[in-house]
């Protein structure tokens, strides 16, 4: 008995440090080429449609309570006529040393064996801790139980749930699609192939700026892209070890208007 308890305690300690899975089965990674992204927002709607995100209405939007899991940030430099605009899609960075995971008192958010930062909705008690710890502002809170005007609810994706009041949610890297691929691969006794899993945002992105795959596989597209010299990660100095890799935008320094 004591041995078991000791083992549990050990395991518990093991699993309480970020990066506890020394080796992931897969290491799901998103690469975003900022030189391709044109800020169109197709990914934002695709994510909404795939993941049963509720629309909250104008008033709630004003309070900053929209439930989109991916957003396009736009940064503007300079003054007329030398304006420079930069876009960046930001979704949950699925950090391997995730600040949000440390804070949650009920372990509603934890790291799984695929390197994903996972949110267990029915464990979440809505303390908001994770959202305050997240440096990327990607966690979204259900202030109400939102309704779908009938028959809009016919569209709801049966592969995942809808969320209720008091629950935190965020981008999951479309875990339901990963699950389907894993099941199929298991049935066929093989590994998931490169490109087999496409999250909704990746699938629809018209410019092809988003690429998804397994970083453990050195031959995968994301592994190749991760070696790109333009690579960086968002707020890397915080040591969150994100699973989203950005490729720098190619852009001239100084004013855009080069006379002559």
């Amino acid at each position: 008995m004591e041995g078991i308890l000791k083992r549990i305690a050990e395991k518990f300690r093991d699993y309480r440090v970020p990066g506890y899975y020394k080796k992931f089965d897969y290491r799901w990674t998103m690469v975003v080429d900022l030189d391709m992204c044109n800020g169109c927002g197709a990914c934002v709607v695709a994510c909404r449609a795939e993941n049963n995100s509720a629309t909250v209405g104008k008033e709630e939007c004003r309070k900053g309570r929209a439930l989109n899991w991916i957003r396009i940030e736009r940064y503007v430099e300079g003054e007329y006529p030398d304006i420079k605009v930069k876009f960046i899609p930001i979704m949950c960075q699925n950090c391997s040393s995730a600040p949000c995971e440390i804070g949650c008192p009920v372990y509603a958010t934890y790291h799984n064996q695929d390197g994903l930062n996972v949110q267990v909705y029915n464990r979440c008690v809505g303390t908001f801790t994770c959202a305050t710890y997240c440096p990327y502002d990607v966690r979204r809170f259900n202030w109400f139980t939102y309704k779908w005007d009938k028959p809009l609810d016919e569209q709801l994706n049966p592969d995942l749930t809808v969320r209720e009041m008091g629950v935190m949610e965020k981008c999951t890297f479309c875990i339901q699609r990963i699950r389907v691929a894993k099941d199929r691969a298991k049935d066929e006794k093989r590994e998931i192939k490169d490109g087999e899993v496409k999250p909704a945002c990746v699938q629809t992105c018209p410019t092809g700026a988003l690429v998804f795959g397994d970083l453990n596989d050195p031959e995968s597209s994301v592994s190749r892209m991760a070696r790109n010299p333009r690579r960086y990660r968002l707020l890397e100095e915080l040591n969150t070890d994100p699973s989203v890799i950005y490729l720098k935008r190619v852009m001239a320094e100084g004013p855009s208007e080069r006379e002559g």
């Binding site: 044109n38 927002g41 909404r48 629309t55 209405g57 939007c61 007329y80 016919e154 950005y246």
Partner: protein
């Protein structure tokens, strides 16, 4: 299909009938089959999805789609990966189109107006079709006064409508939509002898010069062009392509450009020609008729053009030289240029620029499409088929009956055209639209049609991709409400009319008509015929693949010639005109289609209402974009309501301080300000079209949206603008990191 009914069908399905039959049963005659994409019809397995191929109708691009259907319900829509236009991708509007299918504000069944000006009451289809037939029977045989108004349809619904009108002896079929590229069609016909819109090969170009063409959000074929844009930037095929954008208001495409050139509104055509002049006079032009071009272009010397366009002479010359030296390069002229009063000449100027730089008919340039239209269909006749002509006939009492389908001139035509007043003179209007838009709300009879996810149809993309793209649309789900396909309604009306009309339109269903028409295509088209041994096989493969197109071959090379004598007479003589005295109305008004709502049709989809606008992050409402300096001069802050007056009308909107706009220009998105169109769209701000004068391009008949000046005064009206952004400054956080092009050139490419 109700869930319980569905389970009943499922019971049968488990006995061995296909999913196609299960779904087909509700909407099609017995024996008809729906053929899902890729997977042949199997039993419906709960939890296992079937995919049905179709075409997106949220804009005119004609993207091929696949719809994920589980247990009879559409769950998700994606781009069809086999389709040459969408290539597996969709834009935000395409993604949201499922909410049109399941929209709670769809018209749920036939309705008729109790009395003129009164309310609608629900009726049965029999009654509705009887009313329609009765009214059509009353028409004079020789001068029926029967008018038809549809969007610019391209598939066999177009040819069916033509057959229908011909059977009734009426020539009055009109096609109208706010953004229907009439100017682009006209410019290509006049200057390049192209009967269709060519394929602009962004993917393979190395220098893209956009004159107000916002392909990143709405222009022409956004998904296909954005795909090309991504490949142009980082396609891994050598040099990274450069993008320069000329437009008075920075669009999303302009925001992604390496260089933004805010030329004075209405002078873009002159700017393009001054670049053409520079190219010819510097000896870059290869053609034998250099002399002719030089004399035609002599009026557009950069030195003079600089004064007109407000773009420096040296800058014009530099861009021109870069355009000629970079091979291949490509100029595109978009909505902003097309929306001026002289829109056609602006676009002819862009063709001239492409011609003198040697971009016509080459890979990475302007690639002509082979004819994609079906026989029996018709393109709008630019001279006669104009919304203004239709409205004039209506106001003169010549329209005895109007059938309108899925186009909404009461919202999209400038208020100054008084579409409402004209339509009120029509004794009988029947709407076949799926939604209660302003035009449908003015009808006497409503026979609601299916949305595209419930209906049969096809489309012939224009522009295609250098080779023709025929897209097939099959019903993905059975009808959600008591609606019918538009084609089926017309066939039923023809049956009701009896006699000659019924004889000429003998098909029982639109599906049968479609199939028979495709059989004809299959017989005539050698490439089609060789792709499958029998028509049946061809048909089921077409349904599975979502259409027919030739395997990815190199687009056919076809010489396209722009001659100095042909294009010369159509060049812009002077900047486009703007209504209103400069002193009284100090600002140019530039209107553009909202990235989500397009011409207003997307405003009833909550997903699109709540998706932040890419350039302002505003949700659930409209706004006016003003340069911060200008706003300072006017004493208005962000979020303040202002009154905007043009000589033709007034709107009130909140202010968004927009750094990417000329100080002498203000801009607004089109799409909000609906007075009908359901709970999500109704009553959200003003419709900027209320300010647009009743002007159209003389050649093409396209409505001139950007043709007035406005003045701005503060307003005490209340109204709120909700934007989702915080700061637009990085504050040293290095969020979007960059490398300079020079540094990028030096980076090892094999690592990629």
């Amino acid at each position: 299909m109700k869930r319980r009914d569905f389970l009943k069908y499922l019971g049968i399905g488990a006995g061995g009938l296909g999913a196609g039959f299960v779904l087909g049963k509700a909407s099609n005659p017995p024996g008809a089959k729906l053929i899902p994409y890729l997977i042949p019809p199997e039993d419906v397995i709960p939890g296992v999805a079937n995919w049905y191929a179709g075409v997106c109708t949220q804009c005119n691009a004609g993207c091929g789609t696949i719809v994920r259907v589980m247990e009879g319900r559409a769950k998700k829509i994606e781009g069809n990966p086999l389709h040459p236009v969408s290539r597996g991708k969709l834009c935000a509007r395409g993604q949201a189109s499922l909410q049109a299918l399941y929209n709670p504000d769809r018209i749920k069944g036939p309705m008729r107006r109790i009395s003129k000006g009164g309310d609608f009451t629900g009726i049965s289809w029999e009654e509705g079709l009887e009313i329609l037939s009765g009214n059509l029977a009353k028409l004079d045989k020789d001068a029926p006064g029967l008018y038809m108004l549809t969007p610019p349809l391209r598939g066999h619904l177009n040819s069916l409508v033509n057959g229908f009108m011909a059977a009734f002896g009426s020539p009055d079929y009109f096609q109208y939509e706010l953004f229907q590229h009439r100017n682009l069609i006209a410019a290509n016909r006049l200057s390049a002898s192209l009967s269709e819109i060519p394929y602009y090969d962004i993917e393979n170009t190395k220098f893209l010069l956009s004159f107000g063409a916002d392909f990143s959000s709405t222009w022409l074929s956004p998904v296909n062009m954005s795909y090309g844009y991504g490949r142009m930037r980082q396609g891994g095929q050598g040099k990274r392509g450069r993008l320069v954008s000329v437009e008075p208001r920075m669009s999303l495409t302009g925001a992604n450009a390496d260089e933004w050139v805010p030329a004075r509104p209405g002078t873009e055509g002159i700017l393009a020609l001054s670049m053409a002049y520079e190219i010819v006079s510097q000896g870059y032009y290869r053609g034998a008729d250099g002399g002719a071009w030089k004399s035609v272009l002599a009026r557009y010397r950069p030195a003079e053009a600089a004064k007109i366009t407000d773009v420096g002479e040296e800058r014009i010359k530099r861009i021109a030289r870069e355009f000629a030296e970079t091979r291949p390069s490509l100029a595109i002229g978009g909505e902003c240029v097309a929306s001026y009063e002289n829109g056609v000449s602006g676009l002819v100027a862009v063709n001239v620029l492409n011609h003198v730089a040697g971009n016509m008919g080459i890979k990475g340039g302007v690639v002509p499409n082979s004819e994609g239209f079906v026989e029996g269909a018709r393109r709008p006749d630019l001279k006669t088929d104009r919304i203004s002509t239709l409205l004039k006939s209506a106001s003169e009492g010549r329209v005895k009956a109007l059938i309108v389908y899925n186009t909404n001139p009461l919202f999209t035509a400038p208020k100054a055209l008084d579409a409402g007043g004209s339509l009120s003179k029509i004794p009988f209007i029947v709407s076949l639209s799926s939604f209660m838009d302003s035009t449908t709300a003015a009808a006497d009879l409503i026979l609601p049609s299916h949305t595209s996810l419930e209906d049969w149809g096809d489309d012939f993309a224009e522009p295609a991709v250098g080779t023709p793209v025929y897209t097939m649309n099959q019903p993905a789900v059975s009808p959600v409400f008591d609606t019918k396909g538009a084609g089926d309604i017309l066939l039923a009306a023809a049956r009701g009319a009896g006699g000659r009309v019924a004889d000429r339109l003998k098909w029982n269903t639109f599906e049968a008509y479609l199939r028979e028409s495709w059989q004809g295509l299959y017989k005539r088209n050698r490439a089609m015929a060789s792709s499958a041994p029998t028509f049946d096989e061809f048909w089921s493969r077409t349904l599975q693949n979502g259409g027919w197109w030739q395997e990815a071959e190199e687009p056919r090379k076809r010489a396209v010639y722009v001659s100095a004598s042909g294009a010369g007479p159509h060049l812009p003589q002077s900047p486009s005109r703007f209504e209103g005295d400069e002193k009284e109305y100090p600002f140019y008004l530039v209107l553009y289609p909202h990235a989500g709502h397009f011409d207003g049709r997307g405003a009833n989809l909550p997903w699109l209402q709540e998706t932040p606008d890419p350039m302002t992050s505003v949700v659930w409402g409209g706004w006016i974009e003003i340069n911060p300096k200008t706003a300072g001069g006017l004493g208005v802050k962000e979020g303040d309501m202002v009154t905007v007056d043009s000589p033709s009308g007034r709107v009130q909107l909140p202010v968004y301080l927009y750094p990417g706009i000329r100080p002498d220009t203000v801009a607004m998105p089109i799409g909000q300000g609906h007075t009908e169109y359901g709970r999500y769209a109704k009553g959200r701000g003003s419709n900027p079209l209320d300010m647009v004068p009743a002007k159209e391009d003389g050649i093409s008949g396209e409505i001139a949206l950007n043709s007035t000046r406005v003045k701005i005064t503060t307003s005490d009206m209340s109204g709120e603008m909700v934007k989702m952004e915080g700061s637009t400054k990085e504050l040293g956080r290095e969020i979007v990191q960059t490398v300079s092009p020079e540094e990028f050139e030096k980076m090892p490419k094999d690592a990629v």
